[in-house]
Amino acid sequence: MRAPSERAGRTRLGAWLLVGVLGASAGMLPSYAFAQEKVLRIGQLGVMSGPAASWGLINKYTAQAHINLINEDGGFEIDGEKYRLELVSVDDKNDPRVAIAGAERLVHQEGIKYIIGPNVDETSRAIIPVLADGDAFNVSYGWQRELFSPPSENTALGMIAGYQSAPLIYKYLRDERGVKTIACLPRNDTSGLNSRDNCVAAAEQLGLEILSSDSTYEPGTTDYFPVVGRVVEQNPDLLVLSGVTPSDAPLLIRAARELGYEGLMATETAMDAKIFSEVAGDLANGFISVGGASAPEIRTDYMQRFIDEYEKVAGEWNDEAGTKVYALEMILQTIKQAGAKAIDDVAAFKAVVPEVDALNPFISEESIKLGWIGDSDFQQKRQIRVPMVVTEFQNPDFKTLFIDTVE
């Protein structure tokens, strides 16, 4: 045992270290002293640590890269004035409690009106009261209809939900590839089981025969072989990996192919080409997923610039970012439409939501404009009209199958 005096010394040392670091970090708070130039601050709230860290970080990098581009070009113009953009991001640890605190930090401390994220139903649901109370608006990546339907009116869906893309994809495959039987294989967690239910519903709508939907796999740690084996036995024409994460997907595909499965495979969400070719290589050829604006043949130069910038910010391009790029763009376009007053007045923002109809700077497909949709699913326009680029994997990249939009 150490002499008490020395222990006391260490004790004090520890205490000071604690105080020091806390103080230092508190000191690092962003300084709001800007020169004459006007600043528009955008919030980003999402999970940036723990198992789901990638979801939030992709949003962060996407927004940051996009903002860098805009600021490079001298800022974003609203009512003839240029605004320099600034991103404030907060980690919600995928914990509703932390998410609420984070949202209130953004809305009330930082005085931010427009927030990108959070990433899942739990956290998105938790911050709705905060938004209503602080009169702020967010673009969420949760899926639950309640989030975007009245009475909730300050939350919009930033992507195409599985229950929207699934019917379109299955329909295409039914008509073009003669799919008659289908099996859904979700992972055993919230988002997975939700997508599974969507998968089943969509399939029933289209009159497809559902061979299997009650098999699941544990996130991350399980050998997928046993699970896939059971599903493949029934040999469906189409195997849907519901709510699969980009890293699990190639492993599941590989397992299925190794088990001699020859049918089609698809998922409703965005995947990442790199990990596909790294892990499954040619085995993943023909896998159908929903890409963003990143498929090479439809990129605009602006998209290419964005991709390069993203690589600077994140160190490596991620195709998922191609679907997340629209959140900031839509917020800005809508503010522009509503005029400078919308910067601090969400009501003004919401007022013009139905009218927004801007050019999509990311994909060469002229016909597809940016705008707000959602009347059919949410009885109000609370979803970004993200072009649904359905892609097919051809090692090492995604090839566009067809482009569609949900209304």
Binding site: M48, S49, G50, P51, A52, A53, S54, L57, I58, N188, L193, D214, S215, T216, Y217, E218, P219, G220, T221, T222, D223, Y224, F225, P226, V227, G229, R230, T245, P246, S247, D248, P250, L251, R254, A255, E258, L259, G260, D272, I275, E278, V279, A280, G281, A314, G315, E316, N318
Partner: protein, 286 residues
């Protein structure tokens, strides 16, 4: 059914590798290493980095993973656990320290390797089909390597001087101290060895199951299940536990709705531990 058995055996062997390091560290130091899963993940990332990014071979990957984890293990033991074990106010403290180190390692991995989830192609491609049972070459290879690693480890524990010393410490610290075994040195060795095993497991399984920076906790939980099932701090127990879990999974996935498989596994574990706390072949109260 044959397929189920094969699947169970393959998973079981993988899991055995996951559980060995954990049970070793527990046996030697009485520390339940919550950071075990994170060590596994680190091993996986190092393998990925060496193999895919640097383009070096599997062997280099394994070597790098093991070395990295051994070093991490030594650092943890020397700067955290040795101190904590000496100062330990109450039994809880080391377990909680381990939980802290888990969080630390997880954050380090996220900063070092980024948020993307990483996977690797199988070490050997192709599929064998024997008596209607699919055996992918990649899985077969992993199975064999895991088998070799486990056997090698057991031989080491049985027939080498350090191995015997470690077993002696696991049996009874005081006595072995009296017999002149250098407890501190061997504790360090044991911890490094345990970490190294986690590294091998990660490096090997990253070709079957991708890793991401946050995967650690779920790996740890699985390892805990196996270790408690077999009997904490008993090598053979860990292996038995691993195979039981492997087969339970395989059966569950084959015959009941997958989503309830793990619910049942946890329920069964709780029930079993209430009836037989020391696990299948553990000594009562560790």
């Amino acid at each position: 059914m044959e397929q189920v058995i094969v699947n169970g055996a393959i998973s079981g062997m993988n899991y055995a590798l996951m559980a060995l390091g954990l049970t070793l560290i527990f046996a030697i130091m009485g520390v339940l290493n919550f950071a075990h899963g994170q060590m596994y993940v680190l091993g996986g990332f190092v393998m990925y980095f060496v193999y895919t990014v640097l383009g070096l071979g599997h062997v280099a990957g394994f070597a790098a993973s093991i070395v990295t984890l051994v070093i991490v293990g030594l650092i943890f033991e020397r700067f955290f656990f040795r101190h904590a074990l000496r100062m330990a106010a109450r039994e809880e403290s080391t377990m909680l320290l381990a939980a802290g180190t888990a969080l630390l390692l997880e954050s380090l991995i996220l900063v070092a390797f980024g948020e993307k989830q990483r996977g690797m192609p199988p070490m050997v491609s192709g599929v064998y089909k024997l008596f209607g049972v699919y055996i992918p070459a990649g899985r077969a290879a992993v199975f064999l390597i895991a088998l070799v690693a486990v056997v090698a480890f057991i031989l080491f524990m049985q027939h080498t001087k350090p191995g015997r010393a470690l077993r002696a410490i696991a049996q009874d610290k005081e006595v072995s101290a009296l017999q002149g075994v250098n407890i501190e040195r061997y504790s360090a060795l044991g911890f490094a060895l345990g970490a190294g095993l986690a590294g091998i497991a990660g490096a090997l399984l990253v070709s079957l199951l991708a890793v991401n920076s946050g995967l650690g906790t779920s790996v740890s939980i699985k390892a805990f299940i196996m270790v408690m099932l077999g009997g904490a701090g008993v090598v053979s127990g860990a292996i038995i536990g691993a195979f039981i879990l492997g087969f339970a999974e395989a059966l569950g996935y084959a015959y009941i709705p997958g989503s309830t498989t793990y619910l049942l596994i946890f329920a069964a574990l709780i029930l079993f531990l209430v009836i037989r706390p020391q696990g299948i072949i553990g000594k009562p109260w560790g």
